[in-house]
Symmetry: C2
Subunit: 213 residues, 2 copies
């Protein structure tokens, strides 16, 4: 593919930060050049580790799982909305997105940039990030966008369930924990954020990239 690839993904490594209560992220060498003639590692991690996506089954028993997700939603034209500066625990509300009203259309892939990925090492990364209001989530759901990408670990720390419900009820793919959004300068780019094909499960870590024209 022509274009410049920008990696939007947080590293997976042994001891990488996890949402409180989630399984730990473990990466261990299993075979080495010395012991086996090749390097091979064993991973243990949750379906929501680092940069990942949520499928409707995350919240709905009858929702699509990542092995049945419509992959068209996970590949295609996207744009970002720069919301910086947003403070910790500051609301992202309808007024923030109204200037982009004409681009927020059915199937649109929209990435919200708050700069929060820079705080990944901090103790409040999972608890104090900016958050989407229910009003905004309703509006995005009504617009039937295809994908919502965030550089926060969740659309909301408190009230997360309500926000997830509103979006996933409309099969909007939620990509959480994006990074390096400041490297995107193009007004439109191709986003790729494909889940692993994990049978009947709720989410997956992804290698998310933007390809600029």
């Amino acid at each position: 593919m022509n274009g410049k690839i920008i990696d939007l993904t947080l590293d997976i490594y042994d001891g990488a930060p996890v949402m409180p209560g989630d399984p730990p992220c473990q990466v261990a060498s299993f075979s080495t050049l010395e012991t086996a003639g090749f390097n091979l590692a064993q991973l243990s991690l949750s379906t929501h580790q680092g940069t990942h996506l949520d499928a409707p089954f995350h919240i709905f028993a009858d929702g699509a799982a990542v092995d049945r997700l419509d992959l068209d939603r996970c590949i295609g034209p996207a744009f970002k909305i720069d919301l910086r500066p947003k403070k910790p625990r500051e609301a992202i509300d309808l007024e923030d997105l109204l200037p982009y009203d004409d681009r927020i259309r059915p199937g649109a892939r929209i990435i919200l940039q708050t700069g929060w990925d820079k705080f990944r090492a901090g103790s409040d990364y999972f608890t104090s990030h900016p958050y989407l209001t229910g009003r905004l989530a309703d509006w995005l759901a009504d617009r039937q966008i295809g994908l919502l990408g965030l550089d926060m670990p969740s659309p909301a720390a408190e009230g997360w369930r309500q926000i997830h419900e509103k979006l996933l009820a409309r099969d909007i793919v939620i990509v959480e924990g994006l990074a390096n959004l400041d490297q995107i300068t193009a007004a439109e780019f191709t986003l790729i954020a494909l889940p692993l094909k994990i049978r009947k499960q709720d989410g997956s870590p992804v290698r998310a990239v933007a390809i600029e024209p």
Copy 2:
């Protein structure tokens, strides 16, 4: 992205087949709608589970790891070569690829179709597949192709190390365990096979897709 997306990926599931000696593939429910209000799973698997790619660090101590891999190799125009029928343990040699000589150029992404993915459930899936000869691997290495995709779990069951060395020494990305190649009908398509961003490791499961024009 315009085009038809074809999923080229084997399922990840609890107890999925693994190369003999590799870590097991385990998928377990960790949180459920009943216990936590959301579904979330815990994965334990090797960097070479199912459909995956090998980075040079798999064989070379100073080779590129998946977090530093040139992602341009993993996204872009590709074509497949239909080698069917190939029998178990049958060689894939230079003569098989010579008819495609003019397309096997520096940076090319080439997928070899043998139909072997249909035997994934069999006890000899990992041991009796068709294999690349050293002569063919040398030729592909000299051509400096960018990526080699296979529907076998390895380019060779015996002599695997030699074949991996020849290819990975030239930074040729090897994608193993592809599936559903019979669904590809276009002469050229866009291949996406991106590794997770696992810090300093040797390979990664991928969600591999072809996008037909």
